[in-house]
Amino acid sequence: MNAVALALPGRLARGNTLPILVVSACFLAFWYAAAIWMNAGLIAGRSSGLDAISFAKAAWSLDRPLLPAPHQILWELKTSLFDARLGTPRNLFTHIGVTLSSTLVGFAIGVTLGILLAIGVDRSRALDKSLTPWLVASQTIPILAIAPIVVTALGSVGLKGLIPKAIISAYLCFFPVAIGMAKGLASPDSAQRDLMRTYAAGARTTLTKLQLPASLPFLFASLKVAAAAAFVGAIVAELPTGAQSGLGARLLAGSYYGNTMQIWAALIAAALTASLLVGAVTLIERLALGPKGARR
């Protein structure tokens, strides 16, 4: 491997490209091997006396494999993303859009709530002492497990469709934001705070001129976590609530009809979308904080 590295142009060898290529290749090879190994049982039952190559081929082209080969997933992704008519339920983009829209609404609600809570907790000692332990405890409630109850309960007060899913997303993402933001608001050191005191600055000025700017790196770090959490929240909220569209519904339908490929395709699509979401937050962070990121 070293010889290869030396033979390659310097930049390639020194950068991340080569390691990524090598590791990805190993990973794919491992996957294909695993696909043969795991699917062997399914083939053996049906057709016997195959030579090694046709055996591998068979293992990589099963309809309902235990582990589909990567190219099968890619093919499924391509079919469901680009071959199916746009805007129809058969096109995966439709489902990504549905999940994304409730993710974004939930994210907006959760982030707003998280920031307000953090400011409240920062301002009021009573609120901090009373609320903080319960906020931590609230995260141990398996909200995802009671999503159906939540959805029906919300339905009974007239909240339907996108909103219940968004509320579950918001529940999952307000906590990291509140914690991160509270940390950020408390992050200025005593010298930085004392400086404001020497200027006889009030609480509001201290908040806008010192605490808010100081908390931005913390906020963005937790926004990334929150974006991923909101997305997972939206997907999982779709699982048990009988949502008809969305990536969660797609996973469920795949599972219901034993369509392994559809599950994998939905999973990969979800991972890509989540990466994009986190990427978008990172981009905003860059724009807001400059290339130095945290700036310290």
Binding site: L18, A126, K129, Q139, P142, A145, L267
Partner: protein, 321 residues
């Protein structure tokens, strides 16, 4: 001292008043159609309780008394939360199929204790705990390997990024396919859920030791393993503990949700799901209470261990000072 005792007595008195109001809301005369005056009373009592809490939290205290005060404030707040819940459910006559009263949940906790224990063993002690242990251990192990072989780490970065963006819960049906119905498939989901946060945080923690501190080890001609044991692992502990705490909440939730995709007929997720469908929400909430108490206790234990092991870290020092 006097002020503290007085305020705690006041809080207790107000809680007694709240209990009376709750009993009133349950009485046939009020249940389901409490008059406006009643609600006004509830509001008043609650405002008084909040004011007492504000005063309590502002009371100066040191040492033991401060500990008492810091415990009393959230406890009083929590008790009132439960009281309000009880009063609203009873007083407004909310259907038990939508939201049961805390008193009913409590009763159910007692009656169904054996079932709850069996479910707890299946989901928390087997799936969640074992999955958590494996996930955390392999996360830390993988981080060490990645640290030892930077080539691997650089190559794995994008794959790890993508994998950690997977909604891991979606793996549950696949895991059932691979590992069967019983707890191992749930533990596998928990492993997948906890692995990445632990891996990422450990990697960050291993990078946390300062350049100067590392130069010091270098100036002693210390190798990778020695530097790891004497410097980088201790310096990484705060990060690792953060991940372990996060993973502990993920683990129980993951194990519960994974049971949606097929289980033997025991387990917290199984119970929540089937009882919810039968409209026995008191049982559902009883399971949730068990999950929250167990989750908080585990989290608390980890936090205590963290404080002991990272006593030197500024964030811990500040709290004890």
């Amino acid at each position: 001292m006097n002020r503290l005792a007085g305020l705690i007595a006041l809080s207790l008195g107000l809680i007694a008043a709240g209990l009376t109001l709750a009993a009133l809301a349950r009485s046939p005369a009020f249940s389901g159609h409490a008059p406006a005056g009643f609600w006004l009373g509830v509001l008043l009592a609650w405002l008084c309780a909040w004011a007492a809490n504000v005063a309590l939290s502002r009371t100066p205290a040191t040492g033991r008394l401060a500990t008492i005060r810091d415990a009393a404030v959230p406890v009083a707040f929590g008790i009132w939360l439960v009281l309000l819940w009880e009063i609203v459910v009873d007083g407004a006559g909310v259907s038990p199929a939508l939201m049961p009263a805390p008193s009913t949940i409590l009763a159910r906790l007692g009656e169904a204790a054996p079932t709850l224990w069996a479910d707890f063993r299946q989901t928390a002690l087997k799936a969640a705990l074992i999955g958590w242990l494996i996930g955390c251990a392999s996360g830390i192990g993988a981080a060490l390997v990645a640290d030892r072989f930077p080539f691997l780490a650089r190559g794995m970065a994008p794959l790890a990024g993508l994998a950690s963006a997977l909604p891991i819960i979606g793996l549950a049906p696949i895991m059932v396919m691979w590992f069967g119905f019983d707890w191992p498939s749930k533990a596998a989901v928990v492993v997948a859920m906890t692995f990445f946060p632990v891996f990422v945080n450990t990697v960050a923690g291993l990078a946390a030791s300062g350049a100067l501190e590392r130069d010091l080890m270098r100036s002693y001609g210390a190798g990778w393993l020695r530097t790891l044991i004497m410097l980088r692992l201790p310096a990484a502990l705060p990060f690792i503990f953060n991940a372990l705490k996060l993973a502990s909440t993920l683990a129980l939730i993951g194990a519960i949700v994974a049971e949606f995709f097929g289980t033997p007929i025991v387990g917290m997720g199984f119970r929540i799901q089937t009882e919810a469908a039968k409209l026995s929400l008191d049982m559902v909430w009883a399971e949730i209470v068990v999950a929250s108490v167990a989750g908080s206790a585990f989290y608390g234990a980890l936090a205590a261990l963290e404080r002991r092991m990272t006593f030197w870290h500024p964030s811990v020092r500040m709290r004890t000072a």
